[in-house]
């Protein structure tokens, strides 16, 4: 059997192995060792060690534990709570104001941190009970919390984009710059949709009764200012320094993590046990992501050494498919894969297979990568295997899982709309990086 065919067999073997539900990282290593040994002989063992070691030395990826640490600390320090409540006190008497408050808070939190679990849980804890009490539409509420919360994975700084950078060979800084406009676009779509539904049927988001004295308003403004200062500071300190080219994403992540711990200590919301919890959670999450990155780096190296990736590129190039057709096909495949899989395996296993083809066709890799990122955001909103649903259910047990699902589905449709826009108008992605490079 030729090496190339062996490689495709390996991909098939992997898919079968994945179905068994065993931790993906080890399945990857085992399948790559087996097929690699058949095709390459004993040098596959040294290849494994070297590939894992090369991931261990990738300083770009050091941003992953730092961003995770920053987010877990901020989650415990309830950074955004004050801002949210101040905003609400000011605008609560307006119809549908909670949708507005959730979305603005979500975007700000997403721009300050880079992981999903933290945002959904946080928004659920803050807004869920208020929405319930005010008689908000359950599905729309659950939808906007999960959709807004998942923006954290797209709006930079984002752990997903950090992992994607080395895989596609685009600087993380450029990916960050490219993802901002699409992220805001999605946020705008979510908010517009919720407000429209609320406008058409006011019972979906009734105004919150509250005392509206002048003194109360002044206090609310003060709260809002005090609440937003640290958030804006963090966003400038991390995202700002990265985009201006002052700090690398890894340095900025460290500064952000440092500032977050300080913030937690100063506001007295981060105690010793919370700090240790955050460290443990950080180890668990980043080890999961990065060990998988290391394993699939080896898998990809075997796939490449067998010659399969070259053959696949060649086959796809000779298929006569137009470039745009190929992109649409790739997006459809990723969308389907995102149903059962999480973003990590898709980014580290399947994306490297597609990248050479996209590059050969002369398409812009930055644009393609950000489109994939927008696409993968659906992975968080696709029931029944969407983690964000469980995060939300965990903090809002009063809402039924069915309602949460139905709410998420509506926002998933909006996300698809956003994906179509990004694919159709590459300038949505490419404009900001171009401006920043000047």
């Amino acid at each position: 059997m030729t090496g190339e065919a062996l490689g495709f067999l390996m991909l098939g073997g992997l898919l079968l192995g994945l179905l068994a539900g065993f931790p993906i990282a080890f399945t990857l290593l085992a399948v790559a060792l087996l097929f690699g040994y058949m095709g390459l002989g004993p040098r596959v063992f040294d290849l494994m060690t070297l590939q894992i070691f090369s991931v261990m030395r990738e300083t770009v990826l050091a941003a992953v534990p730092l961003f995770v640490f920053m987010a877990t600390v901020l989650e415990r320090a309830r950074l955004i709570e004050r801002f949210f409540l101040g905003f609400l006190a000011l605008a609560g008497s307006i119809r549908g104001s909670l949708y507005f408050a959730v979305m603005v808070t979500a975007i700000l939190f997403a721009a300050a941190t880079g992981i999903v679990g933290a945002s959904v849980t946080l928004l659920g804890v803050m807004a869920g009970p208020l929405m319930l009490r005010a008689g908000y539409d359950v599905r729309l509420s659950a939808g906007i919390i999960t959709a807004g919360g998942t923006l954290g994975i797209l709006i930079p700084p984002s752990v997903m984009l950090v992992v994607m950078g080395p895989v596609v060979g685009v600087p993380v800084t450029q990916l960050f710059a490219g993802a901002i406009v699409p992220g805001l676009l999605l946020g705008g779509l979510y908010l517009g949709y919720a407000m429209l539904r609320c406008f058409l049927d006011p019972s979906r988001g009734p105004a919150i009764q509250q005392a509206n004295s002048e003194a109360g308003k002044g206090k609310a403004v003060a709260e809002l200012m005090l609440g937003s200062l640290p958030v804006v500071g963090l966003i400038f300190g991390t995202l700002g320094t990265i985009l201006l080219g002052i700090a690398t994403p890894t340095d900025a992540a460290a500064l952000g993590a440092f500032a977050s711990v300080l913030f937690g200590i100063v506001t007295r919301r981060l105690d010793w046990s919370g700090f240790r919890e955050a460290m443990g959670k950080t180890l668990e999450v980043s080890s999961m992501i990065l060990f998988l990155v290391a394993a699939s780096n080896f898998f990809g190296a075997v796939f490449g050494a067998l010659g399969s990736s070259r053959l696949l590129t060649q086959l796809l190039l000779e298929s006569g498919l137009p470039a745009m057709g190929l992109v649409v096909l790739a997006m459809a495949v990723i969308f389907l894969l995102a149903w059962p899989l999480e973003w990590v395996p898709i980014v580290v296993i399947f994306l490297p297979v597609l990248v050479p083809v996209v590059a050969k066709m002369g398409m812009d890799l930055l644009w393609f990568s950000v489109a994939v990122a927008v696409n993968l955001q659906t992975a968080w909103l696709s029931p029944p295997v969407a983690l964000s649903a469980y995060f939300l259910k965990g903090v809002m047990p009063e809402w039924s899982l069915k309602d949460i699902y139905l709410g998420m589905l509506q926002f998933m449709m909006l996300q698809l709309l956003g994906l179509v826009a990004v694919v159709a108008f590459p300038d949505l992605v490419l404009w900001l990086p171009r401006v920043l490079q000047r």
């Binding site: 068994a20 065993f22 080890f26 894992i52 070691f53 990738e58 443990g280 998988l292 029944p384």
Partner: protein, 165 residues
């Protein structure tokens, strides 16, 4: 007796995890110091680059066993989670034999060779002017493999049903 052995082993993995978890704090402090030194005092350190990958690489590799213990390694669980618990255990038992011990043992054996070679030559990193010794960092690979082997055996025995979960 068996239960006690398993507890001791798990306790060890947990303890290693508690220590390794601190690496991210070290990383934060080192890079913050470096960034401030570079931005404010225009005096970059020589060690920041090497310390970064060493702490980061050791953090996730040595934490892999801890993550396994916490059930943190991502699975494709849309079929798995529908299985009754007895079957989940059976599937896991078979998968440990098929997918787990092979790679971990290979990593232990070949990772040890990789690290030993570096020890023997007293190898230094040549990527930075600081040129730190690289063999302790390379030793992380076989140590991570040992930790994974230990925690994998614990999981395997528990899945066999010889001891409680």
């Amino acid at each position: 007796m068996l239960e006690r052995v398993l507890r001791v082993l798990e306790g060890a993995i947990e303890a290693v995890g508690q220590v390794v978890a601190w690496f991210v704090v070290g990383l934060t402090i080192a890079l913050t110091y470096e960034a401030l030194a570079r931005l404010l005092f225009v005096a970059p350190t020589v060690w920041a680059y090497d310390v970064t990958y060493m702490l980061y690489g050791a953090h996730f590799m040595l934490g892999a066993a801890y993550t396994l213990r916490r059930g943190g390694h991502v699975r494709t669980d849309f079929l798995y989670e529908r299985l009754p618990e007895v079957w989940q255990r059976r599937v896991d038992t078979i998968c440990y034999l098929l997918f787990y011990f092979g790679p971990v043992l290979a990593l232990l054996w070949f990772g040890s060779g990789f690290a030993l070679e570096a020890w023997r030559r007293a190898e230094r990193a040549i990527t930075s002017p600081w040129m730190p010794v690289i063999y302790p960092f390379k030793t992380v690979i076989p140590v991570a493999a040992i930790l994974l082997l230990v925690q994998g055996l614990v999981e395997f025995v528990r899945n066999l049903g010889l001891a409680g979960r």
